[in-house]
Amino acid sequence: MFSLMIVDDSNIIRRKIERGHDADKFRIVAVAANGVEAIAAFKQARPQVVTMDLTMPEMDGIDCIQQLIALDASLRILVVSALSDKATGIAALKKGARGFLCKPFTDEQLSAALSELTED
């Protein structure tokens, strides 16, 4: 069982991930609506896996990934974003993300992406 934090400024996306994740493999320990909230929530909940939106107020996902990886290099981060260009995906991976799921997505695509993230 992996502990999971959901970071997205959209409440309906947070709730979609809450409904769509595989409850046998993941336990949600924190949710956050922007990068600043995510850093604070991470320090308290210490999740092993994070789903991370990129376009958010206060602190965007790319900066947040960099700060989270500085706190825990073993953190497994799945970017969940509508930004579908290659350069953004590469930038997120360079900062330490391990996977990318493009919005819109189905529950099956979410489960597959999270499973892939936790296979190794």
């Binding site: 309906i12 769509g20 509508a82």
Partner: protein
């Protein structure tokens, strides 16, 4: 604006609705409107665009369509908060997906959600916008593109 550019947004709106439980969406022929008389339904989600393209992209829909769209993505709570969240998320998704064609320099803002039509802050009156009609279930909505290069 070229047909190819408009097609990027048409593909985006079709892709969004294809990820819902009611995939049967139709897109009408795009048309131009003057910005002093913008196309709008009950609620509108606006994305500001900067970089090589400047302006905005917005998704506008009647409240009832958004309620049914929430249900169609599995969200049973159709509160006003969720309706506004959804209209912003649709606009964000369509605009963000456009970066697969325009690249990372197509910068998008976080969404701004409003009731009714965008005002002059978001929609310069000296410009014109392309309206892409969207037909889903029994409802009409629109994606509106106001961009200059």
């Amino acid at each position: 604006m070229s047909q190819e550019t408009l097609q990027v947004f048409i593909d985006g709106v079709v892709r969004y609705f294809h990820h819902t439980n009611d995939k049967d969406v139709k897109v009408g022929t795009p048309y131009l409107v003057e910005n002093h008389n913008p196309a709008a339904y009950d609620i509108t989600g606006i994305i500001g665009i900067s970089g090589p393209y400047r302006g905005c992209v917005y998704f506008t829909a009647p409240r009832i369509l958004l309620k049914h769209l929430l249900l169609s993505i599995g969200e049973l709570e159709t509160s006003n908060e969720h309706i506004f969240d959804l209209v912003g998320e649709v606009a964000n998704t369509i605009s963000g997906n456009a970066r697969s064609r325009f690249g990372h320099e197509f910068m998008i803002s976080v969404p701004v959600m409003i009731e009714g039509a965008p005002n002059q802050i978001h929609l310069p009156v000296q410009m014109r916008s392309y309206v892409i009609p969207v037909y889903w279930k029994a409802y009409h909505a629109a994606v509106v593109i106001c961009l200059e290069q």
